[in-house]
């Protein structure tokens, strides 16, 4: 079942210069994306999930932000070393991105047809006629009725769900190998969200595209992901197959996140398991484990040294001192959810 590695991020560090000092937004992130899989990146605001995605696209604004360390490998190329011109060849044709807010990500003064065709004309040597045909084809694929006449319309003539479909069409028109979607359904209502998530699934089944889905909603993760990276304070604290993360979470933060979400089928009178406190300040990240201050299981060592990433079982990795053989075994063996 092991598929080919498509993208590999290794030791990525990104920081931003601001008036208040240097923010270390991403602090040593490593992961890989395989062909045809959906990798969900979850975490709360400010955990660095969007910055990681933008680093892959090299969309970090250069005057304030910088990739200070690490490599991003895609098809024998190191994306961190490419020139802007080389990068432009990749964006849209090999790797595409979908943003949360379609109203600001798309241009309101150009017809959606022009915006979809822009990518084709930029990357392929085809006539306008052919580009238009491809655009129509892609609009059909993302589920927009009457694509020929819709091409001539502007953004404001579409509803929120439709605009998201158009953004997906723009990202997908050159059939890239990787789609990066940054909170693509957060601004949508649940019934529309369900439609869009189904669309992602269908696109993947039909074309085998790999998807990186950035979200804070664990429900979305459960629905769409094969693998999950849980991020906290600029680091990946746990990663693994979706069932590992939901049924055998190892990191206290992952467990806290899962416990703080109410479920439709859960009992009402049990209080939600909240995580006390707030994430650390990334202007001055803590010396030890970033989660230690909020962690009910924190040991003395947690405040002093960063935990190493250990492998729990195949491709399930966690960065936590509780995994150390010298630490007490906290979780009831492989825990209640096992059955």
């Amino acid at each position: 079942m092991e598929k080919k590695k498509l993208l590999e991020v290794e030791g990525l560090r990104v920081s931003f210069q601001t008036h208040g000092g240097t923010v270390q937004a991403v602090r040593g992130v490593s992961f890989s994306l395989h062909e045809g899989e959906t990798l969900a990146v979850v975490g709360e605001s400010g955990c660095g999930k969007s910055v990681t995605a933008r680093s892959i696209m090299r969309l970090i604004p250069e005057h304030i932000g910088r990739i200070t360390e690490g490599h991003i490998r895609f098809q024998d190329k190191d994306l961190t070393a490419l020139t802007e011109k080389q990068m432009r060849e990749l964006r849209g044709s090999q790797i595409s991105m979908i943003f949360q807010d379609s109203m600001t990500a798309l241009n309101p003064t150009i017809t959606i047809g022009e915006q979809i065709m822009e990518g084709i004309i930029r990357h392929q040597k085809v006539s306008r006629q052919e580009a238009r045909e491809q655009a129509v084809e892609t609009l059909k694929l993302v589920g927009i009725a009457n694509p020929e006449s819709r091409l001539k319309q502007y953004l404001h003539q579409f509803s929120g769900g439709m605009r998201q479909r158009i953004m997906i069409a723009i990202a997908f028109v050159c059939r890239p190998k990787i789609l990066i979607a940054d909170e693509p359904t957060t601004a949508l209502d649940v019934t529309i969200q369900a439609q869009i998530l189904d669309l992602f699934k269908r696109l993947q089944e039909q074309t085998g595209v790999s998807i990186i889905m950035i979200t804070h909603d664990l429900g979305v993760v459960a629905k769409i992901a094969n693998r999950v990276n849980v991020m906290y304070a600029g680091q990946v604290v746990e990663s693994g197959a979706v069932r590992d993360i939901f049924y055998h979470p190892q990191h206290p933060y992952t467990r806290g996140l899962l416990g703080s979400m109410p479920r439709l089928d859960s009992e009402r009178d049990i209080p939600l398991k909240s995580i006390p406190g707030t994430p650390p300040d990334l202007f001055a990240p803590p010396q030890g484990c970033a989660f230690a201050a909020r962690c009910e299981y924190a040991l003395e060592v947690c405040g002093r040294y960063q935990p190493e990433t250990t492998t729990v079982c195949e491709r399930h990795r966690v960065a936590c001192w509780l995994q150390d053989p010298r630490a007490k075994n906290i979780w009831p063996q492989r825990d209640e959810a096992t059955g």
Partner: protein
């Protein structure tokens, strides 16, 4: 759950004029009651009129038709002392913890502004009360002299809650109080709201789009669609036995944080988008997306009726 009826909303309508003879029907016939000590959840997707309902109930908007009775008195006809008393008894918590606190006021003054308006408290009394309230919501009195920008979103929402509690209200309207917060912080705020409710016998009108969270906190839930209440029942009934096709679709559209459940789950798909409230469909407002629509749905507006004990639905399937 108490039995005393605190709030009664009867046939409430609220239209907004958009000029050119266009009328936006934000609320079109909504009726419900809230009892002492209970949490009534109001859910629906954006533009369904749930926030307008909250704002009309507390008197921020006058109704176009219908009435809101609080302890038997029409909220929109109160004047003078009676209005002031009502304003103390019903308070509101807002969605945006950044926009709803005045950035130029210190926390102690924000929290006790209602006491200042009341006029019968000294500055010292107010600040003592602010300290007490801050501790009640899980902050401490050192926070009283700071400005809102010094706090995180979750802490600000606690300040908003402390402000709502300053006048010792009986009822609090919470309009999406947690949707701007991160998941782990949402749980903190919801647990706080539940604790305060137990301690002070508060009634909540909890407005939100997150049905899982609304179910967690509410005793009874009303589901709104395009300005209409389509279903109302206890939160267990709503989850176990939803009657209205919209409620069924809404429940099945919410992704459950459990991959195996997600895999095996059957979904009721509804197509398309919510129609505009400017020219809502005639008859049943949901019929344009309803998988079970019949011809009668286009002709007549369904009647709001009790189909089982404490279970109200407006749908032609149950006529």
């Amino acid at each position: 759950m108490g039995v005393r009826k605190l709030l009664e909303v009867n046939g409430l309508k609220r239209y907004f004029s958009l000029g050119k003879n266009q009328l936006l029907k934000a609320i079109d016939d909504v009726s419900f009651e809230i009892y002492e000590g209970e949490t009534f959840g109001l859910v629906g997707e954006s533009g369904c009129g749930k926030s307008t309902t909250g704002r009309t109930v507390i008197g921020l908007y006058p109704p176009t038709q219908g009435e809101v009775l609080y302890e038997g008195k029409n909220v929109h006809k109160l004047k003078g002392k009676e209005l002031q008393r009502f304003n103390m008894k019903m308070q509101m918590i807002f969605q945006d913890p950044y926009a709803s606190l005045n950035p130029r006021m210190i926390v102690a003054d924000i929290i006790t502004e209602s006491m200042e308006i009341n006029g019968s408290y000294s500055r010292r009394e107010r600040h003592e009360r602010a300290h007490e309230l801050l501790e009640m919501v899980g902050l401490n009195k050192e926070h009283a002299n700071r400005f809102p920008h010094e706090f995180s979103g979750g802490q600000r929402q606690r300040i908003g809650i402390a402000r709502a509690l300053a006048s010792n209200p009986q009822m609090v309207i919470a309009d999406e109080p947690i949707s701007a917060l991160d998941v782990s912080v949402q749980a903190q705020v919801v647990n706080l709201m539940k604790r305060l409710q137990r301690e002070r016998n508060l009634s909540y009108l909890f407005i939100a789009h997150d049905l899982a969270m609304v179910k967690h906190i509410s005793d009874r839930i009303g589901v709104m669609y395009l300005g209409n209440l389509v279903e109302l029942t206890t939160s267990d009934q709503l989850y176990k036995n939803p009657k209205h096709p919209y409620t069924q679709a809404l429940l099945s559209a919410i992704p459950v944080p459990d991959p195996d459940v997600e895999l095996s789950r059957e979904r009721i798909q509804i197509e398309g988008d919510v129609p505009s409230p400017i020219n809502p469909p005639a008859g049943c407002v949901f019929r344009t997306r309803c998988p079970l629509a019949k011809p009668v749905c286009a002709e007549q507006k369904p009647v709001w009726q009790e189909v089982a004990s404490q279970h109200y639905v407006a749908c032609h399937l149950y006529n």
